[in-house]
């Protein structure tokens, strides 16, 4: 009886420890993903005006990835080399269009950090839904937060499930 009582107490203690570990892990993951950061960390280099020329052809943007800093004023000149193409930036919601010889322009302040897909808005052929580029507004805290959250999850999950 004393033995089984001891084992039950041991299991209870393991279970309690596991819940604590799970709670701490979840809290840390949420902290990594959502905690506000000091402004000095969130803002990288001093904001400046950036002119970017993006060339569109079926079914690619060139350059495929545009890199700017948080706070930059971004002026995108969209040029099309074949048919009518559009450019819509996920998360920002801005868009413009261009056709050969008639470029489009888009001006916005990069006030949200992270990676944002930009995509063609005008049906231009079979691969149109996958005509995608990427705007990276650095420092890319979303990605850094995701890395931290993943590593915390991995360590936390191992800690929670390590003991039977």
């Amino acid at each position: 009886m004393a033995d089984s009582g001891g084992r039950a107490a041991g299991l209870l203690s393991i279970s309690r420890t596991r819940w604590w570990a799970a709670g701490i892990t979840l809290s840390l993951v949420l902290l990594a993903l959502l905690a506000p950061l000091p402004a000095a960390l969130a803002v990288g280099a001093a904001p400046q005006e950036r002119h970017v020329t993006v060339s569109a052809r079926s079914f690619a943007f060139e350059p495929g990835t545009v890199q700017v800093n948080l706070g930059d004023t971004v002026i995108v000149d969209l040029e099309s080399t074949d048919v009518v193409h559009g450019l819509y930036v996920d998360g920002y919601g801005f868009s413009t269009q261009a056709e050969p010889g008639r470029p489009g322009q888009l001006t916005f302040v990069a006030n949200r950090s992270g990676a944002f897909r930009f995509r063609c808005t005008v049906a231009c052929g079979n691969l149109h839904p996958f005509m995608i580029g990427k705007l990276v507004v650095g420092p890319n805290l979303t990605w850094l937060r995701a890395i931290a959250a993943t590593l915390i999850t991995a360590v936390g999950a191992l800690a929670v499930f390590w003991v039977r």
Binding site: P129, K134, F161
Partner: protein, 453 residues
């Protein structure tokens, strides 16, 4: 922790009637035929064609975001692809033939292929040409038509739903991931089955057909091969079969039954989630063009890399992780093949969440095409419902990372829990699971990198 959902009188009545399921299947068949017609004669512009939009956006979203994670193989229960073949086999549409008699040559599927290797090969074949199939209405139509012709042919020659069980490229991964679902069809009391000599659930009766999926429900221990067709609910004379709500992922907690073909299915699915996330929704136009330029030198290079990633590189890395765990831990007598197959259970939550994360990124962005296509399915300028003019509108694109990150982290947590459990089940120290945990964490980071970096 199980609750017999089908014991609720209304649900029980609905499951026992043949009309509801038949009606749903017939409705799906209507959509399916329309998708084929749209592909063959409709506009070649994918985003204006019912075949592309309803198959690869609407149906896919329904399947991978809702049906598979929450209801397992429920789709298989109403899938239109085997329906014509099955109706021919039965020579009946709704009501069963006396004794559940089938009209087919009734050949047995060759023993060597009673696994999902052919389904793996079929899926790889479709995935390899996905840049064409997903974007070209004619290609989609021909693939769907091909599936149906093979399904009908198989039904006429082989017994029951041999096509679904051993050939359908889609069924392979639905079966694998259905192990996660919080829904299962099982017997209530195995002893009742043991004493039931007629086994009408397998042989059929006047009330219905013997299990179309070639399973004896009394021996059912996981969802992989049960198509939720509910024939056994109708034919069991002892009322001993039910659909239960259960703990999600319950099948994965079992030690037995993990096979190499299923392990490979898990690896192929994970590799394809990576490849699609890179090629289709990545910013590299040259990759998209190469993947679509079938027959060119570049495409052969793409195909080589695609197959190497699926069949050698990712499996090799996973094998290395399992082998390292075996080296770290005290060696156990279990063979590497068995360890590899058992540890591959981690790929089920990992792969399913990878596909959910990938699918979110194009389904939410492109779903609005469905409204215009509903009014103009063939892209011929119709406006049947007044929605043809609705413009493309991406849904919540800014929130995508906030959906993808939690989904992938849930998959990672479940994968690591399974890795540690597998180590314990084999008498290994928990340290044996660490290399597999590193593999899973690296895969999660890799996918997040593709979406967020």
């Amino acid at each position: 922790m199980r609750y017999a959902l089908s014991e609720i009188p209304l649900i029980k009545r609905v499951l026992r009637t043949r009309w509801l399921q038949w009606s749903l299947t017939a409705l799906m068949l209507l959509f399916f035929v329309l998708a084929i017609i749209a592909g063959l004669v409709g506009t070649p512009a994918g985003n204006r064609n019912f075949g592309i939009v309803f198959v690869w956006i609407v149906w896919w979203a329904l399947l991978i975001l809702l049906l598979v994670p929450f209801a397992g193989r429920l789709w298989c229960g109403v899938c239109p692809i085997p329906a014509p073949g099955e109706w021919l086999q039965r020579r009946a549409l709704v009501q069963p033939r006396p004794g559940g008699k089938l009209y087919t040559l009734g050949k047995q599927w060759p023993r060597a292929f009673r696994n999902i290797w052919l389904q793996n090969a079929g899926f790889l074949g479709v995935a390899l040409f996905s840049s064409v199939i997903l974007t070209t209405p004619m290609a989609t139509a021909l693939v769907l038509l091909g599936f149906m012709i093979v399904a009908v042919g198989t039904s006429l020659v082989f017994e029951r739903r041999t096509f679904c069980r051993y050939l359908c490229p889609v069924g392979g991964f639905i079966g694998l991931y259905s192990q996660v679902a919080p829904l299962e069809l099982r017997v209530k009391d195995a002893a009742v089955c043991a004493s039931h000599t007629e086994k009408t659930c397998y042989t059929g009766s006047d009330d219905g057909y013997g299990c179309p999926w070639l399973i004896f429900p009394g021996g059912l221990t996981n969802n992989t091969a049960c198509g939720l067709c509910t024939e056994c609910l109708k034919t069991c004379t002892r009322d001993n079969i039910a659909i239960f709500v259960r703990q999600p992922g319950a099948d994965l907690l079992k030690t037995t039954g993990h096979k190499l073909d299923e392990a490979y299915k898990g690896l192929i699915m994970l590799a394809c989630a990576f490849i699609y996330s890179t090629v289709l929704i990545g910013p590299w136009g040259v990759l998209k063009e190469t993947a679509r330029a079938v027959g060119t030198r570049g495409w052969f290079a793409y195909a080589g890399i695609f197959l190497a990633l699926n069949l050698a590189i990712l499996p090799g890395l996973f094998w290395l992780a399992v082998r390292s765990g075996q080296t770290i831990s005290q060696p156990v007598k279990t063979t590497m093949r068995k360890l590899f197959s058992d540890y591959a259970a981690v790929l089920v939550p990992l792969g399913l969440t990878a596909w959910v994360a990938f699918s979110l990124s194009f389904v939410l962005i492109n779903f609005s095409y469905a409204w215009s296509v509903l009014s103009d399915p063939l892209g011929w300028g119709w406006n049947l419902l007044g929605t043809a003019g609705l413009k493309w509108t991406p849904y919540i694109p800014g929130l995508l990372p906030y959906l993808q990150v939690p989904v992938l982290l849930i998959g990672l947590t479940a994968a690591l829990a399974l890795a540690l459990r597998t180590a314990r089940q084999h008498g290994q120290s928990p340290w044996a699971a660490v290399p597999v945990a590193i593999f899973c964490t690296a895969a999660t980071l890799g996918l997040l990198g593709l979406y967020l970096a």
